[in-house]
């Protein structure tokens, strides 16, 4: 008698727990909406990545299509090698352009992809050749001041 009561309550308890977890996963989290599971990895070289971090989003036309996997510094060529995971559902031509953008003025940085016109598509372990570095605020300001100064010289 008691045993049945315990079993029933514990069964309900575990069920409520699983429902909560499912609720967290689907309603609160992003398990269904933009879940990125099957991916292929490509790399891109940048002279300067600014404040880009692992797990930063990869966007094409504003849609999240992947995430930054890892960032390493190549000690031979002295540039940053960024590996990115792109969702298998999205294919891009080989001559796709990768830019590092900033969301808002001071927001997080992400990589924006702009498709080229090549007929072949990017595959696992390919390298994106055309890249544009992050805009570094200090550089912008110094360029601005420099050009101002040269204007005044004239």
């Amino acid at each position: 008698m008691d045993k049945i009561k315990f079993d029933a309550w514990v069964g309900i308890f575990v069920a409520v727990g699983i429902i909560s977890l499912l609720g967290l996963a689907t309603k609160v989290g992003n398990l269904t909406s933009n879940d990125i599971r099957e991916t292929y990895m490509v790399t891109a070289n940048f002279e300067n990545i600014g404040g880009l971090k692992p797990r930063a989003p990869i966007k094409a036309a504003g849609v999240v299509v992947g995430r930054v996997n890892s960032i390493v510094f190549d000690t031979k060529a002295y540039h940053a090698v960024v590996s990115i995971d792109i969702d298998k559902r999205y294919v891009f031509p080989k001559d796709t352009f990768a830019n590092i953008y900033t969301a808002g003025l001071l927001g997080e940085q992400y990589i924006g992809l702009e498709a080229g016109g090549d007929t072949k598509n990017l595959e696992q372990n390919d390298r994106i050749t055309q890249t544009q570095d992050a805009v570094v605020l200090e550089k912008l300001i110094s360029q601005f001041l420099y050009s101002k100064a040269s204007e005044e010289d004239k």
Binding site: F13, G29, N30
Partner: protein
């Protein structure tokens, strides 16, 4: 000179006794794993304990979670509206709950509700010679009493933490959407865009699992180690709450720093 010597003697004594207790607790963990096979053969013992630790804690968990969620919603709204981004309230509530408050507050409540009950029960069993009697009947108290309670705590904690987080989000929703009037679509979509299943929800779940192990071991050990008197048991119960709370907060810091860096 003499007082200085006494001071060092006391210091050394307290350190050795602490180390001895830590050793005894480690031995208990080891024995629990050794005897777990025996207690899994009779799963109804563990189910019974899940009822006492988990189901009986459900009310306090659900009620607290709802209020915590509502408070987060209110506080978040007053701060976020200054920056004109009150839609982000869902993200704030969800991340705070899933990553931190869910596992931590659940564990603290668990230590107070279930942990003390375990300590008092085991301490009383020891004081009334029930554990000795079991030993004399050739039944291991570790297999029959301790291990089922351990596994029940480890099972119940992540379930309770999941329920806490979910109910907390609902509490935040109730404040944000019907009461304050944040757009419902924005509330959920912002939340979904920013809460990652693996990174946020799973890490919260792992935290609660670790807290479950820590809280239950502390409660069991304090009960098992309590002097077999009424005073001893009541002191052990107090120690369970203090030690568990400190362990939860310290472990939370360690786990969070690992999760953020990894």
């Amino acid at each position: 000179m003499k007082t200085l010597f006494n001071f060092f003697e006391k210091l050394g004594n307290s350190i050795t006794s602490r180390v001895l207790r830590l050793g005894a607790a480690t031995r208990l963990i080891f024995l629990i794993f050794v005897y777990s096979g025996d207690s899994f053969k009779r799963i109804h013992l563990t189910i019974r304990e899940v009822y006492f630790t988990g189901v009986m804690s459900l009310v306090i968990i659900v009620v607290s979670a709802f209020f915590v969620g509502m408070v987060l919603g209110l506080q978040g709204y007053y701060t976020l509206q200054k920056y004109g981004s009150s839609e982000a309230i869902g993200v704030l509530v969800a991340l705070a709950l899933v990553r931190e408050l869910g596992p931590v507050v659940t564990a603290l409540l668990f230590a107070g509700r279930a942990g003390t009950a375990i300590t008092a029960e085991i301490g009383l069993m020891k004081a009334t010679e029930q554990l000795s009697a079991m030993e004399m009947m050739a039944v291991s108290p570790i297999a029959r009493i301790i291990a089922p309670r351990f596994w029940a705590g480890v099972i119940a904690m992540p379930i309770l933490a999941s329920i806490f987080s979910m109910v907390g989000v609902l509490g935040g929703y109730v404040v944000a959407v019907p009461i304050i009037g944040v757009d419902e679509g924005a509330f959920w979509s912002q939340m979904q865009a920013n809460v990652d299943f693996n990174f946020d929800i799973m890490s919260g779940l792992i935290k609660s699992l670790v807290f479950g192990v820590a809280c239950t071991i502390i409660a069991l050990f304090e009960g098992f180690d309590a002097p077999p008197t009424a005073e001893g048991v009541s002191r052990a119960t107090t120690r369970t709450v203090v030690t568990s709370s400190l362990a939860i907060l310290a472990l939370d810091f360690v786990l969070t720093s690992f999760m953020i860096s990894g």
